[in-house]
Symmetry: C2
């Protein structure tokens, strides 16, 4: 074994330490961060994505965020930029193949930003970058095999084994939101019926509530969100009703958590993770969702998996995506330097 401890850092060295830039491009906001040599965020910024104004506009906004973070780096050298973006991404080609909520088809995001900034730019799917950040520096730190799921607008998953992201063919692995679950009869825009994310997502929770109110079920939500006034409850409204003891809201969270647990059962049995991290906006519902999910998961997997499994909520928040994409950018940079190209 070679000695691998970090040596103390001198004042002079501090002034020349590496910096990384991480971005998380969402349908609503672009979040950017400047990260230090250990990929810890030291400055963040955000702006509206304004995706409706088209890819050229969004590319300009991404460039602006990168330049702002680069200015914040001062005299430090920015080594590389990592960008997480929704939908199907081809990281090797630096191509955003398809991003539904941005309206993007085959946008050469990586190459374009590399050209504009002169920096090495690495792009990947936003969920993978978020889970990679949580796996390496968040809830999954110290675990060898990490399964991360994000319950937000949709349901998605990513797997990190010994620091290595699992991609599968065409980088399409981990589409947990599109496994078919029994008893779900909602059609999915993907073309299937019964996809897990029709229920297990913020939109799924809101949909279940709207359908129940439409069917005339009684709830403390009934008054504000009647079929007559056309207003529809959000997942946050349902969570608030849950906390007020509303039977409908409780039943919706129970059902959603139960399906989350069942979806996780498939992923746990096939991937055999040491830890499951539950992240994304809906993870803020905490035990409302996790208690039924845990119950169902325990009932649905061989006890050999259950007994060695840790389940945690993500805790890096919006920093997870910045950290994950900066870490991936630094890893790719090192790899390309070793092989002598980029």
């Amino acid at each position: 074994m070679t000695e691998n401890r970090l040596a103390p850092i001198s004042e002079l060295e501090v002034a020349t330490l590496s910096r990384y830039i991480g971005l998380d491009v969402g349908g609503t906001n672009i979040v950017g961060g400047l990260l230090n040599e250990r990929c810890e965020p030291i400055r963040t910024t955000r702006c509206a994505t304004e995706a409706d104004r088209g890819p050229a506009h969004v590319l300009n906004r991404i460039e602006t965020v990168i330049n702002e973070m680069r200015a914040a780096a001062g005299s430090h050298r920015v080594e590389a930029v990592g960008i997480g973006i929704p939908g199907f991404v081809d990281p090797e080609a630096g191509l955003s193949v398809f991003a539904g909520n941005l309206g993007w088809h085959n946008v050469p995001l990586g190459a374009e930003m590399a050209r504009r900034t002169g920096l090495p730019v690495f792009i990947d799917n936003d969920v993978r970058m978020y889970i990679y950040g949580e796996a390496m520096r968040g809830a999954g730190e110290g675990f060898g095999h990490v399964l991360g799921v994000t319950v937000g607008t949709g349901l998605a998953a990513a797997v990190v084994n010994e620091g290595r992201l699992y991609y599968g063919g065409a980088q399409m692995a981990g589409e947990l939101g599109h496994i078919p679950l029994p008893g779900i009869d909602y059609a999915c825009p993907c073309g299937l019926t019964g996809c897990a994310e029709r229920i297990v997502s913020a939109t799924g929770i809101a949909r279940q509530a709207a359908d129940a109110l439409q069917a005339g079920e009684s709830s403390i939500l009934s008054e504000r969100f009647s079929p007559e006034n056309g207003a529809k409850p959000t997942a946050a409204d349902v969570a608030a009703a849950y906390d007020a003891g509303d039977a409908l809201a409780i039943r919706i969270f129970e059902r959603t958590g139960d399906y989350l647990g069942l979806a996780l059962a498939y992923a746990v049995t096939l991937f055999s993770p040491d830890i499951v991290i539950v992240g994304g906006g809906v993870a803020q519902a905490g035990e409302r969702l996790l208690a039924p999910a845990r119950r169902r998961l325990q009932q649905s997997v061989y006890r050999g998996y259950w007994e060695r499994l840790t389940i945690r909520t993500a805790f890096l928040g919006e920093h997870a995506g910045l950290i994950g994409s900066a870490l991936m950018a630094s890893k790719q940079l090192m790899k390309s330097q070793q092989s002598g190209g980029m």
Copy 2:
């Protein structure tokens, strides 16, 4: 790119070329093989496992098979031994953690054989070795991301990405036989109810037939296998009845294939393979099983997976496990030589 073609081999070199030994230890038979420097089998042997006589006896038989193959190598140098064995295996420790059909608990198979033979010995789960062989040299050759399933006594799966086996935490990934499927109410020895392999396996096919006959369903099997005479049909009997146009047998294969397709849908959506290889004894049923499996799989996965997916039956037969374990042994040997230990 460096030139990577094989140079012609001289007579002198042939005499000193490497040999590998591969073994597949099953509940019934031990199959052994001598493989050449490219891990192609050049001699095979088999003997009964006689597992009922205890681990010490089986270890002796394994040693005998290794010695026989070593003798067959003549003046060639045997570099390493690879052994596939059922159940949970810890390859790094060389430990057979649990093998139900051998009655083994924590048998140090790898260390013991290394001690007795003086050769480097690598052990791993038999399904992983079988699928690894098929992925690298059989039906999966040339594909980057391979999902292999074996439908035999049970149902199991393994995944090979760019030549690398997927293990997961505690080497427990890929237990496709123990995912819960809707509409299956058989209890499983693993402690769960509704496990896929209760239906999708040779025993599952036989069980469905026995249950139907017990319930008095009419079939050409009814005469030979009546509840009165106590005889029970095997999966091969059901396949023969299928070929004779028996409605019950056709329904059983349709149902089994349908469930296989559904089980595959979960694995395909999570692992995103380029190819699915269906192996194991029941794969010999061919289209009887694969036609309904394909139909259900297509209905149950996002078309982006389906459109790029190849589905094939395994074709190396019992050589797959020998090739897979010899390849893994040679790979591990190279790794340990690079890192300077073993």
